[in-house]
Symmetry: C2
Subunit: 362 residues, 2 copies
Amino acid sequence: MARVINFNAGPAGLPLAALERARDEFLDFEGSGMGILEHSHRGKQYEGVHNEAIALLRELLGGTEDHEVLLLQGGASQAFATVPMNFLHPGRSADYVLTGGWSEKAFEEAQRVGSARVACSTAVNKRYARIPTQDELKLDPSACYAHITTNNTLFGTQWRRTPNTGAVPLVADMSSDFLWRPTDVRPYALIYAGAQKNLGPSGVTVFLIRKDLLATARKDLPKIFRFGVHAENNSLYNTPPTFAVYLMRNVLAWARSLGGLEAVGARNAEKARTLYGAIDARPEFYRCPVEEGSRSAMNVVFRLPTEALEEDFVAEAKKAGMVGLKGHRSVGGIRVSLYNAVEPSHVATLAAFLGDFAARRG
Amino acid sequence: MARVINFNAGPAGLPLAALERARDEFLDFEGSGMGILEHSHRGKQYEGVHNEAIALLRELLGGTEDHEVLLLQGGASQAFATVPMNFLHPGRSADYVLTGGWSEKAFEEAQRVGSARVACSTAVNKRYARIPTQDELKLDPSACYAHITTNNTLFGTQWRRTPNTGAVPLVADMSSDFLWRPTDVRPYALIYAGAQKNLGPSGVTVFLIRKDLLATARKDLPKIFRFGVHAENNSLYNTPPTFAVYLMRNVLAWARSLGGLEAVGARNAEKARTLYGAIDARPEFYRCPVEEGSRSAMNVVFRLPTEALEEDFVAEAKKAGMVGLKGHRSVGGIRVSLYNAVEPSHVATLAAFLGDFAARRG
């Protein structure tokens, strides 16, 4: 069948150009007579891909001179543990800003490693409708680091500014909005991002770790969990997830072909404007529970008047070739993920569907 | 170009049928309008693949009723740490049998977690030429577990029997010979294996954990490192490496299509016989440093009279369409990896090349 319009929350749809490139050389990478996933991770072909992926990340972001760039396994869920294992020192504490389910998980895992405290939570009745203001952050000036989750896939909120944490290193889980627009990474001591939203398939996680923070890492850990060991070995300390890195390389090359993060950001802003516009145009029918200044451009959540209408909405959209619209099971409603690979024309199609559905069923 | 004959040590060549299946449905998995790597790990399509991979592992091995089967990230290198984190209890010790570089790494990582001791080492001048006898194992009857590495990729040795560790749980790193022939898994309390030799691409690791051992696991760890958490969640606690699991499913289906592990084992025995036969037929030219009873059917290592001849051997073989023959940088010489995907006809081609090269250069 034809490709569907994929609004999955992750693993998410990937750019067709990146996928076709992978398919076309799946059995024979660059005339080597074998697929990239059959190459040794110590050979020059894979090493070229690996280094190109890292170089593309640096080129797209810019300003990464003070950061190590690592490509590791385990996803953000593993980073929830390895970040405090490396940087949460005994006798000290780390600050966590809670803005959704993923920041809660990061906080809980940190508590299993050491001492962690909540610097701010915007939860009301276990629901998060907004990002805190700078004034709301009750930061511990002696914390090992302060942790935020820049985009919240369940509740559809997103930090649109970088918080000021003073001398305390700022750590950010950017899994669901990494590379969504130009970002000054210099204020971030550590950024981590699972690939399966904007970067590639699941199975590889990007870390940017500023060298001043890395120098403070604990050394009394198993080697596999020491970020410093991976930095010294250019993320080749152990066998990397070679195919996931390769496909990420293809996705990053596609992002560059669009015109880099300026173009990616403009595209994403247009997509968000189109969809929120369609929601706000029919306030009697569609309701976005997120405060306007906290709305995510990556995950747009909204409700219909009844759950029965929400079910019909998802079913009819599927018949029209649009999938991945059901809200997370813990939240309900509708969720539309607008990650980088989603085309503006796809969002226009969905926006028209919103108008049509409301006219027919409202 | 045509596909080359790939003797890589890992990531290794994969069965053509498994790769072609992946390529053909890369953009549209089972008529869903998207690739399997674009599907949600909570959706029925991926869940079907995930459960089929686990069911195929159980079917191929047989006798796994008492084991949990987990599919996790991190490779064997991460298991070197997570196994002692889960099962090496404070105030107690674990036994390690050293038969090569990978068992050394496993031992070193365990020492960073807790107390570990060497139950036996067959090293002579930092080289390992054999597997120990049962009598050589100086086991601690109160150890939390005893760890072996069933196949040693650097030195070309392989356990051909299961050691008796009495009441002490037996833990085995089978990364480089998992599924190479029928194996009674019941004596093993824990088996782990990175996929990139016999199972699939790098990025997924199989664990078989007997429930009696799992019940003893520590619970005071970050959740992501608790095998019990992954077992309770059918390896879907966090986002799995979906494409790697999918491709493993294809490889396992191919192994079943050959006739299961009986057929795989007979094929591998024939391949090893052919290659060792070609080596032993010219003892004045080729020399295998491994004792005969310890020779690996997966990684065949041998030397030529001089390093210059070894370089020529590798270069000429490459011209003849055979790659991946260079020995590991820490050992030198020639290494031929005969993992499951290597066809008997490929080994016959190599054996003929050995005869021809020796006749011309010997």
